[in-house]
């Protein structure tokens, strides 16, 4: 049927708007459906939930029919039939039925993706459709095999509350308006179906009071007016302009500083000071406001995980419960996009290696239901994301043995490692403690990729683990990637920015306080001995005669759990800097996080100390 199906409508410029909003709507529905389906498995008899899911399929069916997407319509139509039986209590929801619905969901989201990218329905959904047909034919009972029912048959037709019916009612009105535009036979079929339902629902609705109706319709209309959809590109442009404004502000304050020296005490300087202060304040406010428009709730990412956990638990035969906290926590859009993969990896890791099998948990005297906690919270200008499990934990001894046997560290070195350092070995490339390689994780390419990804976002990842009790991964990310606090320092004639988040402290030492161990310079700071690096020499190959200087400024930086001293010649100050990339021609350069433009128009480099020091050790 595909060969004859005409999809040219999808690329018709006149239909673009309708098609685009169809895609957005579908994706939103799918996102919500994902959550609802996992929830449904837990509450198989919840009538509101069943109605909601039914409506989701129903909405997609209606619109896809209108757009001539026969496959999508066919699939959603069967799914809708099935859900209709479920919500009427004619069929009971068991594992067999649930699997069918989930498979239909997967096929549907894959199909929507294909529609969105290729403008056709070039995705085979027949397997999922067939399964659904089968379930319908068997009325939800897996023939031959005793199905493991997750619910009892519903005794009565579930109550339908007004709030459940209302949106569906609105929908019908909406489609009714669109129908004359299209003569497609498929749509006509939908229409008759819709009308049938409209009648049924209309009767049901008459039982409800008028009062409820007004309250609900009010809420519904309010929702639409408070939000608008904006293209991300526009927000990006806005952010760019604000970044330029921040540079302009910096320039202004520099001019003010110069003027205040040359024309001290004059009215002009006082006015300039006022103006400069006001601009300063407004710029900061504006910057914050623009940043906020780009903030997205992390729930968008977190909400994908109930399904991931469900599938993995099934695959591995473990009982796992996923708890999510802090899904309201907001962070920058770019971060949201990038943090998904690392989190998927950590969650998989927790399920595969962390949580033990129910038998082993029982032996260890634990609840057979394993727990994975995914949480997010703000901490100053950072966001902390945690993936925690109450599984077997990691034995530091085992990590050390493994690292030695893999030749990653020597025996002597292993003895010196602190607990945290030992856990950090897990992030080294090619390290995997899983005894058996599974297709979920344990391929030895894992945590190092997670670490690299997190580091790209200027984040830090740490592990805490207690053998027998569980493991906790802690990811610390900045709220935004565009602007950072930096420490401006001079190394001979070069000025560079050191990101302030890695600076622990700044000290001035007498040259006599710099010692040498095996040719490497070290400093003794309180009780710690820290290696000292001459970044000027390493990066710029400067070899100034520093021996004459009596004092040496040292910036102490913390990278992961280690501290280092960096030699600098002058401290210029702390500054909020806007990160500019070096452009696509240069791309990323080792040891350089980017550049920024100073108030005087000069470009200075922002150092990526983690990378620089990584090369040295």
């Amino acid at each position: 049927m595909d060969a004859e199906q005409d999809y040219s409508m999808l690329q018709d410029p006149e239909m673009k708007e309708i098609f685009d909003s169809f895609l957005v709507e579908c994706r939103e529905i799918l996102e919500q459906l994902d959550l609802d389906l996992v929830e449904l498995e837990k509450q198989p008899k919840n009538p509101e939930l069943l109605n909601k899911i039914f409506r989701a399929f129903h909405t997609v069916k209606g619109t896809s029919g209108f757009l001539g997407l026969v496959r999508l319509m066919g699939l959603t139509h069967i799914a809708e039939d099935l859900l209709n039986r479920l919500r009427k209590g004619e069929m009971l929801l068991n594992g067999y039925v649930m699997d069918g619905i989930l498979q239909a969901y997967d096929a549907m989201s894959a199909l929507v993706n294909v529609i969105g990218t290729q403008f056709n329905e070039d995705y085979d959904t027949s397997a999922a459709a067939q399964l659904l047909e089968e379930i319908l034919a068997n009325n939800g009972v897996l023939s031959g095999v005793q199905s493991n029912a997750v619910s009892e048959p519903a005794d009565e037709i579930p109550d339908i509350s007004i709030s459940d019916i209302l949106p569906a009612e609105f929908e019908i009105v909406a489609f009714g308006g669109e129908i004359p535009l299209n003569s497609n036979a498929a749509v006509i079929e939908t229409v008759s179906l819709l009308e049938e339902e409209a009648v049924v629902q209309h009767i049901e609705q008459q039982h409800k009071t008028a009062k409820q109706y007004t309250i609900d319709s009010k809420q519904d209309s309010g929702k639409g007016e408070n939000n608008i959809r904006v293209e991300v590109k526009r927000l990006d442009d806005l952010l760019n302009i604000v970044s330029e404004l921040v540079l302009g502000r910096n320039r202004l304050s520099q001019v003010y500083n110069e003027a205040s020296i040359n024309y001290e005490g004059t009215q002009l300087v006082r006015d300039l000071a006022d103006a400069s202060r006001q601009i300063d304040l407004m710029t900061t406010e504006l910057q914050l406001a623009v940043m906020k428009t780009r903030m997205i709730k992390i729930g968008k990412v977190f909400n994908k995980f109930p399904r991931v956990v469900r599938d993995l638990a099934k695959e591995t035969g473990k009982n796992v419960e996923l708890l999510i906290h802090g899904e309201e926590t907001e962070l920058d859009k770019t971060l949201i996009e990038e943090i998904n993969d690392p989190l998927v990896h950590l969650i998989r890791n927790s399920l595969d290696h962390g949580i033990e099998s129910p038998e082993r948990r029982a032996l260890a005297g634990k609840n057979s239901m394993g727990k994975v906690i995914l949480s997010a919270e703000h901490e100053g200008n950072n966001i902390i994301i945690m993936v925690e499990d109450d599984g077997g934990g990691i034995d530091p001894e085992k990590i050390r043995d493994k690292a030695i046997s893999k030749g990653i560290i020597t025996k002597d070195r292993a003895k010196e490692l602190s607990r945290l350092e030992t856990f950090n070995l897990l992030f080294l490339p090619g390290f995997s403690t899983a005894e058996k390689v599974t297709n979920i994780s344990g391929r030895g390419v894992g945590l190092d990729v997670v670490k690299t990804n997190v580091a790209k976002l200027r984040g830090v990842i740490n592990i805490e683990s207690e053998p027998g009790k569980g493991t906790k991964f802690l990811i610390k990310l900045p709220l935004t990637l565009a602007i950072i606090q930096g420490l401006l320092v001079a190394i001979e004639k070069e000025t560079v920015v050191i990101p302030l988040n890695s600076v622990v402290e700044v000290v001035r030492l007498s040259r006599k306080q710099i010692y040498t161990i095996k040719g490497h310079e070290v400093i003794k700071l309180r009780d710690e001995v820290l290696p000292l690096f001459d970044v000027g020499n390493i990066l710029y190959h400067l070899n100034g005669d520093k021996e004459k200087q009596q004092w040496q400024y040292v910036v102490v930086v913390g990278i992961a759990d280690k501290k280092f001293g960096i030699k600098v010649d002058f401290l210029i100050g702390q500054k909020e800097v806007v990160i500019k990339s070096l452009g696509s021609y240069l791309g990323t350069i080792k040891g350089i996080a980017g550049s920024t433009i100073m108030g005087d128009g000069k470009v200075v480099m922002i150092l990526d100390l983690a990378e620089i020091l990584h090369q040295l050790i």
Partner: protein, 161 residues
């Protein structure tokens, strides 16, 4: 070979060039590639960048890389003076600045007076050279800046990453 057997193109189309000097040679690039010509400004060095990258400059809020054409063409380094210019060009959607000794003029020449380059000109790999234009009193080497940054540079940039 080109000089013995000039291969004249069959059009009389005019091409507009920006001509500049690097060392003893005078070069020309297609004016449409040139975005602007700037005086020498402060260049910030980029550590760990490829050798021929002199650094970056601030071009009205944008950070763009600067390449020293002398270094690129294998000529000895000289001090930058008041004649030194940065030619900002747009190549494959990338904005890049080239340092040249001096910019001479904008000129319009007929394709007829251009010839395929001889195998070697001033020690420069002929790959960069699209043609040689014979002006009344001098020769002009037409450079293809796209090629100035060809594979080997891309390879260096990538290897460095």
């Amino acid at each position: 070979m080109g000089l013995v057997n000039p291969q004249k193109s069959d059009t009389t189309e005019l091409i507009q060039l920006v001509s500049f000097k690097v060392g003893e040679e005078e070069f020309g690039v297609d004016i449409l590639k040139v975005q602007e010509i700037n005086k020498m400004t402060v260049i910030t060095r980029v550590p760990n960048a490829p050798d021929f990258v002199e650094g970056v400059i601030n071009l009205r809020g944008r950070v763009i890389p600067i390449i020293d054409l002398r270094k690129r063409l294998g000529l000895p380094q000289i001090e930058h003076d008041k004649n030194t210019r940065i030619i900002v060009v747009e190549i494959a959607n990338k904005t890049i600045g080239f340092i040249v000794d001096a910019v001479s003029e904008v000129l319009r020449i007929s394709r007829d007076i251009t010839e395929k380059p001889p195998a070697l000109v001033a020690g420069i790999d002929a790959d960069y050279i699209t043609a040689v234009a014979k002006l009344e009193d001098r020769l002009l080497i037409l450079l293809d800046l796209d090629k100035v940054l060809t594979k080997d540079e891309t390879a260096i940039v990538e290897a460095d990453n």
